[in-house]
Amino acid sequence: MGTRWLVVALVLALAAPAGAQEKPLLRWGGDRNGGAPYIFEAADGKLTGFEVEFAEYLARELGRTPRFVQNQWDNLPDLLKRGDIDVVLNGYEFTKERHDDTPSTVPYYVYSLRLIVRQNEPDVFSWSDLGRQTEPKRVGVLRGSASQRYLEGRFGNKVRIEGSETVTEMLDLVQAGQVDVTVQDAPAAAYYVTPERYPGLKVVDEPAGYGYYVLLTRPDDAELREKLNAAIRKAVSSGWLKQLYQKYGLWNPAQQRLSYLAGQPWPEAAAEFATDDAGYAPPDPPKLSGILDKLLTAAAYTILLAVASFPIAMAIGLVVAVGRVYGPWPVRALFTIYVEVLRGTPLLLQLFVIFYLPSQLSKIEGWEWMSALALNKWAAAIIGLALNYSANEAENYRAGLMAVPKGQMEAALALGFTKWAALRYVILPQAFRIVIPPVTNDFIALFKDTAVCSTVMIVELTGLYYAYKVYPNLVLELALAVGLLYLLMSYPTAVLARWFERRLALTKEGGAR
């Protein structure tokens, strides 16, 4: 995520001199990652996609210069509100509550949702099959998207929703069997689910969950909004949009609604098509009290991740530290590399490699066996956290071992202890006491670092926040609730550790020796 902010910062910095040109900028935000056919890089590296062409059209109509600003999809509205971009133009669906937060333009596309399954999927052939499973199916969605809300509203707890950050990530996971089925917007489904791109996947049943793609704007930009609306209405009535969609293979009869809506007051007209063909109406936005059980489950997942991975990290760390201090040189060299690699690369990247890389590599011919390494998300998360933290723990223990006076080892050896007995009964117990404070510190840090597991679709506390922050009515209280839960978990750990430290102190004072 950090790199994305860097990209944004760079783009903004570059935007400054451009502002000196005659035409003002139209800064539009989107996410190109896994973004075909909306926004993606063509083979020649040029940004392309129907939204890119649409943005260029709008800028032309408004007499402005279009400038694309890349950001993670679910953060785009935040960027808009901060003032870093002028509009969000990236498949954002109209909802009433989103409109109240960041007012929308008239729609530029009528989207629907498509159900995507593996070619050999045995149970799910239609939407209604999802609600009939005794063992709930793992259904992948783009985090915070309309598919997530649609599934939650229509199927509730009968499906297990898994959120990813990009479409392609999720399609990889379904093809590799790490997720059962996925629901994606029709344009993405049409573009990706082809024998060339994802031969293992197919689209089943009719489209469902119709809705509208709109541009998002800031509330006080009424003038910009009016100009955009005029430009969009013109694109609809002149047939420019139809041509665009035909070019990308996205035109379908549902788009005829755009012509009708162009003549109606917005957003009031949105209600006219509020139910889809299955008779399903979008649910009201959730309240904090309504997702309390989800919040507590997420907190339990956070605890589970930390409690399961930390003992493994401690055990590996202990072996590595003892090897580095007392082992022969090949062991020392090997463990030094181990520590430096794990300590010197980001946890997020490690987790990504463990979870996504095998399934992505397995798509390459001759590398199909890699799919056997595709771990389920829990194993990947726990192993990732444990490995990453084992490097920190190894360094803690090493410091602890070196802090035990040399005379302790000599005294034990002089009594006839073997080196291992001396380590076990004399050195390690003392080193352990010395490292309680840094190890506790790491455990608390690990509690918070479990947040990265949201990238492997585990809905722990931060993942839950991401999944529900799309509801503007919920975002503040949710942030407070999640923060409070983290604090409630980490503070007792700190208190417990201090008590432990006092109890095991080596001196009367219980302080530094």
Binding site: A411, A414, F417
Partner: protein, 242 residues
């Protein structure tokens, strides 16, 4: 019991021991004296295998032998240390164990004796050094003199044939020093206790009182071995240390 022959030891380029030779008989109390830096402590540490040496030989009993310039086999080192105990200047008690557990640690963790048996021996030894009431005290709760007495009990607990005392009272004030020396006196006087003792110390009064033999070290060599009266006689080899 302990025979050191032509020991040569360098720290880098600096010679510490340069052909030191001495012998300690079974049950004998030997004192090692000499000016600071003459290599007394180094010699002791070589005998216990805590330091390697370049040339010469150290033999303990009939079977155990350390040879200069080669790393001794682990089994030899282990057997050697179970035969020869050591008491350090800085006590080196295990701070996370009580006094009793410290004394029990050798029998239990080095010799594999059952805890119950080790505890009986350890309690008797703590009583012998005058600390019967300090079983449950942690080292940090004991004075320096008390800690060193626990350390002596700990060394005795593995039933060694010899104990090496490396400046056992140097870190203590005179009062505590005296109480530790009383314990060492008591061990030296105990005819039933067949433990050879080698003491490195600057407490020459104590040496005169308890030593059977005094070895004087100078320039990395043993320059004199003989009874204390002779060593400390006016114009004797150790007279200038007085």
């Amino acid at each position: 019991m302990i025979r050191v022959t032509n020991l040569v030891k360098f720290h880098g380029q600096t010679p510490i021991l340069n052909g030191a030779t001495l012998e300690v008989a079974k049950g004998q109390v030997a004192a090692l004296v000499g000016p600071s830096g003459s290599g007394k402590s180094t010699l002791l540490r070589c005998v216990n295998g805590l330091e390697a040496f370049q040339e010469g030989e150290i033999a303990v009993g009939d079977a155990l032998k350390l040879t200069g310039g080669s790393a001794p086999p682990k089994a030899t080192l282990l057997a050697l240390r179970r035969t020869v105990g050591m008491v350090f200047q800085q006590f080196n008690l295990f701070p996370h164990m009580t006094a009793l557990k410290n004394v029990m640690s050798g029998p239990v963790h080095a010799l594999g004796k059952p805890e119950a048996e080790a505890e009986v021996t350890a309690k008797a030894l703590l009583a012998r050094v005058g600390l019967a009431d300090k079983h449950d005290a942690k080292p940090a709760q004991l004075s320096g003199g008390q800690q060193q007495r626990v350390a002596i009990a700990r060394a005795l607990a593995v039933d060694p044939a010899a104990i090496l005392f490396d400046e056992p009272t140097s870190a203590l004030d005179p009062k505590m020093s005296a109480e530790v020396m009383r314990v060492i006196d008591d061990l030296a006087d105990d005819a039933a206790l067949q433990v050879a003792m080698v003491i490195v110390t600057h407490d020459l009064a104590a040496v005169r009182r308890i030593a059977d033999v005094v070895h004087v070290l100078g320039s990395g060599k043993v320059t004199f071995s003989g009874p204390p009266d002779e060593a400390f006689a006016p114009n004797g080899p150790a007279a200038d240390l007085l």
